[in-house]
């Protein structure tokens, strides 16, 4: 998947190891958002016409269009349901997460 990746991050062990000032490298994800989800979107890739509307409208950008089929980055999908609601062929189903 072509999406920013979770970084290995070690908590600074002493004050020296802290950043100089309120600065941090960008592209620096140290936690995922998967736990926010109550429902997960599941794409029926056979029905999907690759119109890419879900890719376009996802506020979290978790739908990767680089392959032949769409792939969802479930680490960062919050389960908002915009993709399913906006999918014209109706090929995205919101499935309850089992905890």
């Amino acid at each position: 998947m072509n999406r920013p990746k979770l970084k290995q991050w070690q908590e600074p062990v002493n004050i020296d190891a802290y950043p100089v000032g309120s600065t941090c490298p960008s592209d620096h994800l140290t936690s995922i958002n998967a736990g926010w989800r109550t429902y997960r979107p599941v794409i029926d890739t056979d029905k999907c016409v690759m119109c890419l509307r879900c890719f376009l409208l996802c506020p979290d950008g978790v739908i990767d269009k680089s392959g032949e089929k769409l792939v969802i980055d479930y680490d960062y999908c919050k389960g908002c349901g915009i993709c399913a609601h906006e999918c014209k062929p109706g090929c995205i189903e919101m499935v309850k997460e089992e905890k």
Binding site: Y18, G21, S22, P25
Partner: protein, 389 residues
């Protein structure tokens, strides 16, 4: 080259020599002539910089932060109400360790309205994480503009720096000032080095980030530790400056005839010159008086003060400010530093010069005489008051 110029002109000359990339400034009396001169220098090409006409002091500092965030050298200048208006941005810049240099023309704070010099304005910002230096004359103002960038940009420091000069008494008074040559300044102050915490296309950064209750203290402790440690850089830069230009300012503070003194008056800024004359006069009369010119209020030279004042019987602190409800701010700081001495000298707070009120040689002499006498007097003494208190 020597020129007969005002303190504001001297600031502008110093800034020109330091080659900032961007100047963002908003006019306020008595700082205006400094930024007018800088705009002229940009116009005539003698200073290659962007001049941003911002619409407020708040934006002047915010713009300087933008400039600094991409690794460029920023300058701004303000005074009084303007300094207070931009106050929110000061800890912002210091927390992000942005080496911005600012001239502050020390001026009274409203109300009552007053455009003349006292030091109420910068005292409000002692806690802002900025280095604060106070200069005595136009030459020191010019020289400190050059030193300030070298100190602020030093990798061990990376803190913004406020160069304070007394409104009107320094900003508008003409003196003969030595203007250093550009090539010598360039050798002393090389172009700003990209430090690791600024933005870069090949190494993108997020700046002025948030750190919650889980990490915030560690960021602050690091900032505090580095600001404390900047003392050694301040002193070495002054030393290097002396070698390059032949003028020295004695780092954090200057002791004048304090060695065997029974009584010492601590001053900041322009009143130091007057006090020096009084000390010379009284010394000629055989009186053991001395002067301690406090140059830096942040970082605060507590240890140096203890060493310089440990054998003094009585220390006076001249404050051109009041922290309402208590006393002069410098007095509080000095007392705190001296409190850990085995034998703590007596201290008296001389508050004067508010709203530009004169402090005469006579006032200073009276202060010395009062400290030398064994008579009881109140800890806080107002100087040159026009009516009964």
């Amino acid at each position: 080259m020597r020129k007969f110029i005002s303190g504001n002109d001297a600031v502008a000359e110093g800034v020109r020599l330091a080659r900032p990339h961007v100047i963002s400034a908003y006019p306020i009396t008595p700082q205006t002539i400094a930024v007018e001169r800088l705009s002229e220098m940009v116009e005539d090409g003698s200073l290659k910089a962007e001049y941003m006409h911002v619409e407020s002091e708040h934006s002047a500092m915010a713009a300087a932060m933008g400039v600094s965030s991409v690794g460029a050298r920023a300058f701004t200048a303000t005074s009084s109400q303007g300094l207070l208006y931009m106050a929110e941005c000061l800890p912002y810049a210091s927390g992000a360790r942005m080496p911005i240099v600012m001239m502050n023309a020390n001026r009274a704070i409203a109300t009552p309205w007053n455009i003349y010099g006292d030091q109420m304005d910068s005292m409000f910002l002692l806690n802002s994480g900025w280095i604060q230096v106070y200069v005595e004359d136009a030459q020191e103002a010019l020289d400190m503009m050059i030193q300030a960038y070298k100190i602020a940009e030093h990798p061990q420091v990376l803190a913004p720096m406020m160069v304070n000069l007394d409104g009107f008494v320094l900003t508008h008074t003409y003196e003969l000032v030595e203007i250093p040559e550009q090539d010598k300044v360039d050798a002393f102050l090389p172009p700003i080095q990209m430090s690791k915490q600024v933005m870069a296309l090949d190494d993108p950064k997020s700046l002025c980030i948030s750190a919650g209750n889980d990490f915030n203290m560690e960021f602050k402790i690091k900032q505090e530790r580095d600001l404390q440690n900047s003392v050694s850089v301040i002193e070495s830069v002054d030393h290097e400056f002396h070698e390059a230009f032949g003028r020295k300012y004695h780092g954090m503070m200057e002791c004048y005839k304090t060695e065997d003194a029974d009584v010492v008056l601590i001053t900041t800024g322009s009143i130091t010159g007057t006090t020096r004359i009084v000390v010379d006069q009284m010394r000629a009369e055989g009186k053991k008086v001395g002067l301690l010119k406090l140059r830096y209020l942040r970082p605060f030279p507590a240890e140096q003060l203890r060493i310089a004042l440990r054998d003094v019987k009585h220390v006076g602190v001249l404050d051109k400010n009041i922290s309402f409800g208590y006393e002069g701010t410098i007095f509080t700081n000095v007392n705190s530093a001296l409190s850990s001495l085995d034998t703590v000298p007596k201290t008296t707070n001389y508050i004067g010069g508010l709203g530009g009120r004169d402090i005469t040689k006579g006032n200073i002499e009276e202060a010395f005489e009062q400290m030398m006498s064994s008579d009881h007097h109140d800890k806080i003494q107002y100087m040159n008051v026009r009516c009964e208190q």
